[in-house]
Amino acid sequence: MKLITVNFLTCAVKGCKSAPASYPLHFRDAELELQELEFQPEFILNIIPRIDWEGLRVMANELGFPKIPDNKPEGDALKDEQLLKELHRLLLETHVVEGRLCCGNCGHEYMIKEGIANFLLPSHLGLMIPSVAYMNAC
């Protein structure tokens, strides 16, 4: 799982959807792995505008990465190839292979195994469908 993924995730529990604390999810005991990928400056330049910068800063900080800029780079800052390379490494080359992702709102932890995060819920938390609740009650 590339680190950029966390920028697109929130807690899977329905009740957490509207809670601000459910994003970003927080890593626990993350085992990181670097998998080299060709550096394509144009690609990173198009990825930056879609990144939620505050969420990225929180994640990078919690994982102990060197500090990334306080604000999303714009204009001339985007000509800094070193910065683009660092973002490429952080977002696309760094993978989480084992560990947990934790919701800051409900505390639920999602296990990551072999690079695949498990967002299936225990039966009492999942299932947003009334018909299943009904079937279980019968």
Binding site: T10, K17, N46, I47, L120, L121
Partner: protein
């Protein structure tokens, strides 16, 4: 014709094997009309709903199975979307499918890249396409952990067959059983269970599709587009009408259109693909 991604590495014991519906997806998305629509929609300079530079599209396939559809769109994104700076993401309730999807997409990206390196088929002035990438696959029910407003292209080939009952969804603990410790009959039962999840749609074949449709307004970005496959028993025309009636929540008007179909049964198309998106009045 664009090449079909290889799935020769996938074991179909618990995973849906690419079939007529999967191929309808590939044919529809790569058709001249649909590719033209998508290219205009996601072209940096023609897009009215996104800031410039136009951000890389994020493609999510829900219930990606073997990954053949996601791999096709991602690897051929230059031809289908007119740009190849795309990020792919897959979800499935079956861990084997999550692993298979990742591999299928990676392989298709590499195969596409190698083909491009073959002796020049295009003019030498054309710069090589960017290489797309897959960010991850997630073990989850539909799009439940996806952050609101993030998905630009959502693909869903649902379990659409009407069945008396809907199989229960796997939970956190379902997938922890090590398959090597299972007896022959337990293994058969588990495989049948996972395969039933790939096709069994409950009432009208719509129970799972309804839940996904209900989540579309939440997960799609303003420029987001969803493609959902339906069969005749799902009553696709009623579904289209219903989507057109969704409330616009100030982010544009909901549109739905049938953009692909295959096979004819008693005068009706057997399978159709619906495109769902928002339109903005400027």
């Amino acid at each position: 014709m664009l090449p079909t991604p290889s799935t020769s590495h996938v074991s179909f014991d618990t995973i849906y094997e690419p079939s007529e519906d999967s191929y309808l997806f590939l044919d529809t998305l790569s058709s001249a009309s649909e590719s033209a629509w998508l290219t205009t929609h996601f072209h940096p300079s023609t897009s009215t709903t996104t800031p410039s530079p136009s951000p890389s599209p994020l493609i999510l396939e829900v219930g990606s199975g073997s990954g053949v559809v996601l791999a096709f769109v991602t690897a051929n994104s230059q031809q289908i979307l007119g740009r190849s700076d795309v990020l792919a993401l897959g979800t499935d309730v079956n861990r084997n499918a999550c692993a298979a999807t990742k591999q299928t997409v990676l392989k298709a990206i590499e195969d596409h890249h190698h083909q491009q390196q073959q002796p020049p088929s295009t003019s030498p002035s054309t710069s090589p396409d960017l290489k797309p990438t897959i960010t991850s696959t997630l073990l989850t029910d539909l799009a439940s952990p996806i952050r609101p407003g993030t998905i630009d292209i959502l693909l869903f080939n649902p379990p659409y067959v009407p069945t008396p009952e809907l199989p229960s969804l796997p939970t956190t603990t379902t997938t922890t059983t090590d398959i090597s410790t299972l007896s022959r009959s337990e293994k058969f039962e588990q495989e049948s269970y996972y395969l039933s999840l790939t096709y069994a749609g409950g009432k009208d074949g719509m129970e799972t599709t309804e839940r996904l449709l209900g989540d579309i307004p939440r997960v799609l970005s303003p420029r987001g587009v969803a493609y959902v496959l339906l069969c005749a028993q799902n009553r696709p025309r009623e579904v289209v009408e219903r989507i057109r009636g969704w409330e616009g929540d100030g982010k544009g008007r909901w549109c739905a259109e049938l953009v692909g179909s295959s096979g004819v049964q008693a005068g009706w198309e057997k399978l159709v693909i619906v495109r769902v998106w928002r339109e903005f009045t400027i």
